[in-house]
Amino acid sequence: MEKIYRVETYKCISCGKCELACGFAHSKDGKAGTSRIKIKKIGIEKGMPVVCFQCVEALCVKSCPVGALVRNEETGAVDLLEEKCIRCKMCVVSCPFGNIQWDENFEAVAKCDLCKGDPQCVPFCPTKALSYY
């Protein structure tokens, strides 16, 4: 069965380790990528992590004119096939939650892919606000 990527927002202390881990996990040629998970600070040592929900009826998948966003049957995530992407940015604007971003450095779309079944942000979260089981 598919695993579940779980975010327990009340545990987040907005330390930013998941953002760093994500950036490095999606790095290329020694340059860090844009973090797919974003924390909004809501007080001292309190944060609200926002990350892709991997929607079942995903608007990003619907919006893609070339079908570069596909469901990965193994992980359940919506994967971006970078080789197929034409960078029209329609997914960036159609995500109702703003969880797809435009990576200025790589001129590419940044989308959480659950690191192909091994989310790198999870082991770095000190309070276990993020878990994958």
Partner: protein, 251 residues
């Protein structure tokens, strides 16, 4: 699935699929500049040449562009044959004559041992290698705003009559798909300019930044059946709003 032999290695491939894509899937490195998964193959750059033969062809073989050759049962493919290398070298030689200042072309040429072309260099070097990726993606998206015009040495990619293309929606797909970065565009927070046509961007209601053009949003929302109201805010503002909503839910 059928079995084919590539460089002495047996691999499984789906019959009828194009050879280049099956080879790439199996990790074979084959140079190609005009291949992109979003569009149908076209055989424009002629760099993906491979030699094919079959056991019952009695020693006969031929060189084909692998991007357009469908997989057949029992195909024997040679990707690093001497004749293949020479054929690719000649193609690159001609490409360097046309685009002597294009990094991507020079990089590939260097791999095949070409520093300088043996032909006469173009008097007006261009980065465009006429691979047709830009026009093909434009066709596929349903616009056909640009196309290949002219013949022979005068062939180029251009909008109709070299005027502002009326059908262009400014999605920049042609510029991003271009393997040699030939198609140039200008962009700032509010406007975008490509092919001499200026586009107004769809601005975020909250912060005023623009990600896509108005024409693009309108076209794709209709084509893909998406409610255009989702385009009103940018991704940052949407995240802000939703994190606030979650915060309220948490209380």
């Amino acid at each position: 699935m059928v079995e084919i032999i590539v460089d002495g290695k047996k691999i499984k491939a789906r019959e009828g699929n194009y050879l280049l894509r099956e080879l790439k899937k199996n990790g074979f490195k084959i140079p190609a500049l005009c291949d992109h998964l979003a569009v149908e193959p076209w055989g424009g750059c002629r760099l993906c040449l491979v030699k094919i033969t079959k056991e019952d062809w009695k020693g006969w073989s031929k060189i084909v562009a692998s991007c357009l050759y469908p997989v057949e049962d029992g195909l024997i493919v040679l990707t690093k044959d001497k004749e293949v290398e020479e054929a690719r070298k000649e193609v690159l030689n001609l490409m360097v004559a046309r685009s002597p200042q294009t990094p991507k072309v020079l990089e590939l040429a260097k791999e095949y041992g070409i520093e300088k072309t043996s032909y006469e260099e173009y008097k007006e070097p261009t980065d465009c290698i006429l691979c047709g990726l830009c026009t093909r993606i434009c066709d596929q998206l349903g616009m056909s705003a640009i196309s290949l015009v002219g013949r022979g040495i005068g062939r180029e990619v251009a909008p109709p009559f070299n005027l502002e293309p009326p059908d262009c929606i400014g999605c920049l797909s042609c510029a991003y798909i271009c393997p040699t970065n030939f198609i140039k565009f200008e962009e700032n927070e509010k406007k975008r300019k490509i092919w001499g046509k200026e586009f107004e961007k769809l601005l975020c209601k909250n912060c005023g930044c623009g990600i896509v053009t108005k024409a693009e949003a309108e076209y794709f929302s209709k084509k893909q059946g998406i409610d255009p109201t989702v385009f009103e805010l940018c991704d940052k503002c949407k995240r802000e709003i939703y994190s606030k909503k979650f915060e309220e839910l948490q209380k």
